[in-house]
Amino acid sequence: MLDLSKYQSIGAALKDALDQFANEVCLIESDREREKERLTYHDFKERAHPLARALQDAGFKPNDRAAIIMTNQSKWLISAYAIFYSGGVLVPLDYKLTPDEQWQLLAHSNASVLVTEYPIWRQLAASPSRSLATNLRTILVTEAPPNADLSNAKRWEEFRGNSEPTFIARQRSDIATIVYSSGTGGRPKGCMMTHENYLEQCIALTSIYPFSPGMRYLSILPTNHAIDFMVGFFGPFICGAAVVHLRTLRPEYVREAFSKYKITYVSLVPLVLKNLQKGLQERLEALPNGKRKVFNALVAINKGFTKGQSRLGLSRRLLKQVHEAFGGELRAIIVGGAFTEPQTLQFFYDLGIPVANGYGLTEAGTAITVNDLKPFRADTVGKPLPGMQVRILNPDSEGIGEVSVRSKTVMSGYVNEPELTAETIVDGWLMTGDLGRFDPTGHLQLFGRKKNMIVTEEGKNIYPEDIETAFESLPVKEFCIFAANYVWPKRSMVGEQLLLVLHLEQDQTLSDDLRRYISARNSRLLNYKRVHGIVLFDEDFPRTASLKIKRNILAERLAQQDRASAVLPL
C-alpha cells in the first residue's frame, strides 16, 4: 500500500495509486447475472481524466463543491476522483432521500456541480424545490435513454475533455468532502472533512484490516456513507485492491456475489447482519437431525479453537459449507452504523466468520474504535484505533460518562454552523453525545445516548439502548425502550420509568403468552433496570438511512398518544 504519511491529499494519493497498480483490477460492476464492467486502475484513469478535463473546462475551480447522488457503481468513484483531481470538494449525498431533501442539501452545500443517474434526475427535475439550488451550474446525468428529456442536464458519458486535465494540489488542512450525517435526530448537519481526516483514518484502519492487490471488497452500504467511502473506495484503492458493485441488491444476487467474486471483506449494517443470521439459522434448523448434530459438534470444536483468537484457516476447513456459501475467501464482515447485538456478533464468530464491529461517527471520520479480534469480544465495540485519544467525561460511580475523542480524524466543523461546531468540538475534543466506559482491558463499552437516559429513584443511571439487549429476539416486528419522561416530558427527576414500545407483527396481538414472555425477560434484569409498561405502536419505526431508529421522531409520534391510556401494564 501507499505510505499515506507522505501525502497531502486524497487526490494525490489516488493519483499515485492509479499508476502504481495500473494493471490490477480496481472495479467490477455486476448487474444480476451480467458483469457490466471490469476496470483496471489504468482503465479507471482513462475514464476519469477526460471527465476532470471537461469539469475544468466548464469552469470548475479548486474548492468548488460537486455533489454526487448515485447508487453504488463505477461511475460514482470515477466522478469522485475527477472532482478530487480538480481540487474540488466532494459532497456525497444519500440517493434514498426525497428529491425535496436532496435539493435542500444541494443548496445548503452550495454545490456548483451535480453528478447523478437518470432515474434519480427524473425525480429531481420534476421537484419544485429545484429553484433552491441557485449555485448549481453543471448537471451530469448517467445512463440516460437516447431520447430522454434531460431538462438542461448533460450526459455524463459525453462530458469529456480532449486534453489532459491539470492536477490541482491540495493541503492536508483543506476541505475534501462535506458529508451530511443522517444522525438519529434533528436536521442533517454538513460535516466538513479534511484531506488529513481521510489520510489518517485510512492509515489507522488499514493497520488492523489491511487490503492488498487481489482482495475484493463488496460495496453494499451506500458510498455516500462514511464507512463505504473509506473501506469501499479510498482504502482498497490506495492498496491496489478491487471493489465489487452490484446494480441490484436483491438478496439472491448479493448471496451469489460472495462466491462468484471471492469476496474478502463486506460492510453491513446490523439489521442486514441480523437478517443474514436469521436466514442461516433457518437453514441450519431445516437440516436433518443427524446432520444438525454433526454441524453443532463442529461449531463447538471451532468455538474451542477460536476462543483466544480467530483461526480462519481452521474454521474454513471445519465449517466448509458455511464458508463456501460466503465464497471461501471472506476474512471479516465489517459492521457499523448502529449498535450490534452481542448475540449476533457471537453467532458469526462461532461459525468462524469474524465480525469487525466498531464504533464511530461521521464527525470523527468513520471509526473511533474497532474490535481487533485479539481476542474477540462481542460485548464491546473494541479498542481505540491508533492515533485516537478517547476519554470518558464526568464518569459516574460506574465509570460511565460521555465519550469524547481527539484525533487527526475529527472534522473541522459543520458547514455554516459555528455555534454548533463550538458546542461539539470543545478544546479540540469531539463530544460524541454517546455514553460509554472502558473496561480494564481497554475495550470501550457503550451504554446509550446521553439524552436518552433516566435516573432511577435508587440513583442509578439507566440507558435504554443497554436494556434493549436484554429483550433480544423478542417475537415482535420491532421494539425499543424509552424513558417515559423522554416521550412525555415531565419536570421531575424522580419517578422516571422505562417503557417497552412494541410494533407487533401483522395480525399479532398482545397476548397473555407474549406478556408472560416479556415479564420473564424483564424479571431477569436488576430491579432498577426493569421496564414498567408497554406502549403499542402500529407503524414502522422511523429510521435513518443507516437504519438506526430515529428516536426523537418516534418519541414525538408516541407523544401524540395520551400517556395514561397509552401505557399498558406489563
Binding site: 434514498k96 426525497t98 443517474e117 432515474p119 441488491l249 438478496p251 442486514v272 414502522d540
Partner: protein, 80 residues
C-alpha cells in the same frame, strides 16, 4: 397483453401467496410494507417473485420509494 387491472390483481395474488395472507385482505392502494408487515429486504424478495412471474426485469431504482400495490403494478405494466 394484460390490462393494468389484471396486472394489479396478479400482483395482489402473488403477494398474498408469498406472504401467506388471505388474498381478499389485500387491496390495490394498500401500503405493502404495512399491510404485509414486511421490511425492505422482504420487499426485494417479493420483487424477484414478481419478475419471475411476469418475465421482466425491474431495476431497483424503478421501485425506489414505491410502497403501494397499484404503483408497483403500473411499474410492471410499463415493462410488459
Amino acid at each position: 397483453m394484460r390490462t393494468i387491472d389484471q396486472t394489479t390483481q396478479e400482483v395482489l395474488t402473488l403477494a398474498s401467496k408469498h406472504f401467506q395472507v388471505p388474498a381478499d385482505s389485500l387491496a390495490p392502494d394498500d401500503d405493502f410494507f404495512k399491510k404485509l408487515g414486511i421490511d425492505s429486504l422482504q420487499a426485494l424478495e417479493l420483487l424477484s417473485r414478481l419478475e419471475n412471474h411476469f418475465g421482466i426485469e425491474l431495476p431497483d431504482y424503478e421501485v425506489q420509494g414505491v410502497s403501494d400495490f397499484r404503483t408497483l403494478a403500473s411499474r410492471i405494466q410499463s415493462r410488459l
